[in-house]
Amino acid sequence: MLRAEPAPRVLTVTQLATLVREALEGGVGSVWVAGEISNLRPAPSGHVYFTLKDEQSQLGAVMFRSVAQALAFRPADGMEVLISARVSLYPVRGALQLYVDAIEPRGLGALQLAFEQLKARLGAEGLFAAARKRPLPRFPRAVGIVTALRGAVIHDMRTVLRARWPACRIVVRPVRVQGAGAGREVAEAIEDLNRLGGLDVLIVGRGGGSLEDLWAFNEEVVARAIAASAVPVVSAVGHEVDFTIADFVADARAPTPTAAAALVVPDRAEVAAGLGRAEAALRRALARHARDLPLRIDDLALRARRGLARRLAWERRELATSAARLGRVGPAPGLRRARERLATAGTRLRFALGIRVRQARGAVERAAGQLDALSPLACLARGYAIVRRGDATGPVVRDAALLAAGDPVALVFARGRARARIDATEPEKEP
């Protein structure tokens, strides 16, 4: 049996997805939901995807770039958060999706968390390291100031700078120091003053306020600009109890802008007093010099005399020592040996001479004995006489033929002499 029934309404998938989406958006709409972030996935587009879960359930969530960029803190896996979201269907995947409008950490306030996170991150990067801190110039010629142009802060700083070091030139780069975009402005101002050049030190700051008021100085962009500054930066934010990220990165931190002004320039009165002391020291030194000169001359003369005396004594000692050594050592070993040889030779010579003399004397005595035995005197003593032709010095006559009648002769007896004349000769015939 046929029953005419209305044909069932067939929907396309898209129509159904749209129905569900409308039902979700109309029935649930925007809600606040608490949960834990997991599987956080930042996309290159800047959107951030994550899963919000509790013990039993989980839902997909997306935070568009515009929302993500405005966040002070960084969502992370495991973080307990409170989310304001629109509940809808993502038709492409047919998945239920939370479209996040706002997100807040539970427990710590969002700003506090952001502060702690950025501090930990930049600290790990080494941006707060003491080694990065540059010394401030002693006598800056020009100071750059990044702060609001109107208000007590700049007025007070000018007053302090004028009182302490008026010769210092001041360049103010006015910025908004709170509100959306203030951080960006402060960072740009730091860059601008670096670009301007001629500045010796920068002061970046504002008066005190709530954490929200000071927030610009906790932004990463400001921290990076301070770290990148070629000119040393003094941070001066709020009152003494407030610490900002800028304080950690800066080369020096002053508790207030006024204190920063006092920190960057010396006190003119103190410097003038120092100059006075220097002048007094100069005069004293010269006066002492002048007063000391005659004394120094006397002293020098005394020292010269003493030195001369010492020198003389020394020379004398040296001479004595040298003489002693000379005596000990002798002029030279060679000479000493020569002298010894000479002495030996002398001894030997004297010895040898003695022998010779004794020998000679013996010979003479022997000869004398023989002579005595052979002496004609002995014959003469026996009665013989010697005839010499002429006188007693003439030749001895051994042959009568050498004489002729009338020749004078000398007769030598053992005792005395006589002169005679030859009467006649009787020469002996040759055999």
Binding site: L149, R158, A272
Partner: protein, 80 residues
């Protein structure tokens, strides 16, 4: 844009003065050199004191146009 102030830096001049005082105090310089050092030292003291007595405070504002161009403007005392 920002011309550096003319003349030697205050630091450098002060350092020279300190050096002269030290040398003179040691008393090792000959008399002529001592006199010259003294005169130079006193001149430096005068020059530095002169710079200390400059009381004119110069304040400028660095403004940036929408095109990103920087411009310096003097800021009068009553402008705060």
């Amino acid at each position: 844009m920002a011309e550096p102030p003319a003349g030697p830096r205050f630091d450098d001049t002060l350092a020279e003065l300190e050096g002269i005082v030290q040398r003179l105090e040691k008393g090792e310089l000959p008399l002529e050199d001592s006199l010259a050092a003294f005169e130079r030292g006193i001149a430096l003291v005068r020059a530095l004191a002169q710079r200390l007595s400059e009381v004119e405070q110069r304040v400028e504002v660095l403004l940036k146009s929408d095109a990103g161009k920087l411009a310096l403007q003097p800021l009068a005392d009553d402008e705060e």
